[in-house]
Amino acid sequence: MSYKLIIIGCSLGGLSATKTLLAGISDDCMVPIILIQHREQKAEVSMDNVLTNMMQRYTKRQIEEAEDKTPLRLNHIYLAPADYHLLIERECVALSADEPVTYARPSIDVAFDSAARTYGSGVIGVILTGASRDGADGAASIEKRGGLIIVQDPLAAESNTLPKAALAATKNPKIMQLEEIGPYISNIVREGGASRASRATS
């Protein structure tokens, strides 16, 4: 399988989980990474660029807050900005100011579902700690279209509502410890790239 996109969902408390995950993804993992993290309206870390600056220390990839129609670059990380939904179009990110979905904007469901519809089986969806069930339906949508779903072990997650809901909504999720996820993803993306290369030369 050759993967085209990694999309990660978690709630605000997911900052440390996200850092661990990003630090575990190897530099040669050449796919765009989208990060959907719930934000609190007034919270300090929700301010522009605070979150990206904090996370930039844990990865060599360029991490940026997505703007409308930002093209998807292979080794970049795109963070959904506060107060907009992020959707995936063929070549770029699309933002929308439509109402919150299940109280969330950005909504993980909205982003995951659009990724699934655009990239089908090329999507790896990762569900981390989360205090609401936003993300579970999106995970199901990715799985239904042939993508891969990885869920952080609910027992180890800071907040297990989302991981549990995602496990209930999907049939074949991979349950993993946080530290395992990055290396695992790097591996399967690399293998996908390799099988594509070997197909091209044969």
């Binding site: 522009d48 997505a66 703007e67 409308d68 129609k69 930002t70 093209p71 900005p81 907009y84 939904h85 959707l87 995936i88 179009e89 070549e91 770029c92 699309a94 933002l95 929308s96 100011a97 439509d98 909205v110 659009s114 519809r117 655009t118 089908g120 239904k144 279209r145």
Partner: protein, 283 residues
């Protein structure tokens, strides 16, 4: 046999894509509204939301209803496009307008401003307040346009729910407002009516950015939170239209998360304030 059991998810997605194309084509031919190049992922969600509101089970059913009933079409347009707006939305933007744009505008004897996609008018009235406080409102004409007549009707009344005034006032203060915001409206029952003197130089008119042409030349064009409705190709087309309508060294203002980056106009404008999405035409 249940057709669902034999149709795969991929086939269902494909059928849905066909239904959406047919619906938007039909609407264009029947009513002239062109949504065919709107950002596809969002428009798909909005169509489904409308279908749920109207208790229609499929997009084909939406097509039937919308084509046969003009009143249904009005509701469809509203649910596809309308979005909340507030006065002094993103106060930092209006502060930047005061400090970076107004000094440039002050050098012109007559100032034409286009507020494209003005919705219910809050943005245009906010502009009017800033221009008034900066002493140049009398030299300005604000053309505030939208494709949707319903929102324009509301905009023209200059009447807003009193309950919104708290938010408007907070935004006004953060945007560097110089007076007491309550001086700009009269409260009556549950409503606030914007002062006549702020309304006199605003012209509200219907204009569709997709199907209508350039109609004047402007020193300042605001198009905030509108380009996000469009797909990349249509955004390019609409930006070309705005460019045609821009006087030399005219200023373009986009929404907080929109940008000229990666568009073909990028090189025709310099950044006046990149964080506030203010651009200035190079020549």
């Amino acid at each position: 046999m249940d057709p669902d059991s034999t149709t795969t998810v991929e086939q269902k997605d494909e059928i849905e894509a066909i239904e959406i194309d047919l619906l938007l084509d039909g609407i264009y031919r029947r009513y002239g509204y062109d949504f065919r190049k709107y950002a596809s992922a969002s428009i798909r969600r909005r169509i489904w939301k409308f279908a749920e509101q109207e208790k229609l089970a499929t997009i084909s059913a939406v097509q039937e209803a919308v084509l046969h009933e003009p009143s249904m079409m009005d509701r469809f347009v509203l649910s596809l496009t309308v979005n909340v707006t507030t006065m002094f939305r993103d106060p930092a933007f209006f502060l930047a307008l005061r400090t970076e744009v107004i000094p440039i505008l002050k050098t012109y004897p007559m100032i034409r401003i286009w507020d494209a996609g003005c919705a219910t008018g809050e943005e245009a009235y906010s502009m009017a307040i800033v221009l008034k406080e900066e002493g140049i409102y009398d030299r300005c004409r604000i053309y505030a346009t939208d494709m949707n007549e319903d929102v324009l009707r509301k905009a023209k009344t200059g009447i807003f729910p009193l309950s919104h005034m708290k938010e408007f006032t907070d935004n006004y203060i953060q945007s560097g407002g110089k007076n007491s915001f309550s001086e700009y409206y009269t409260a009556k029952y549950d409503y606030a009516i914007i002062n006549q003197e702020l309304r006199q130089n605003i012209i509200f008119a219907q204009h569709n950015l997709v199907t209508d042409k350039s109609f004047n030349e402007f020193n300042l064009v605001l198009i905030r939170n509108v380009l996000i409705y469009f797909n990349e190709e249509l955004r390019g087309k609409v930006l070309d239209l705005l460019h045609e309508s821009m006087a030399s060294f005219g200023i373009l203002a986009l929404g907080k998360r929109e940008s000229l980056k990666f568009s073909r106009l990028e090189s025709a404008y310099e950044e006046l304030d990149s964080a506030m999405k203010l651009y200035k035409r190079c020549a």
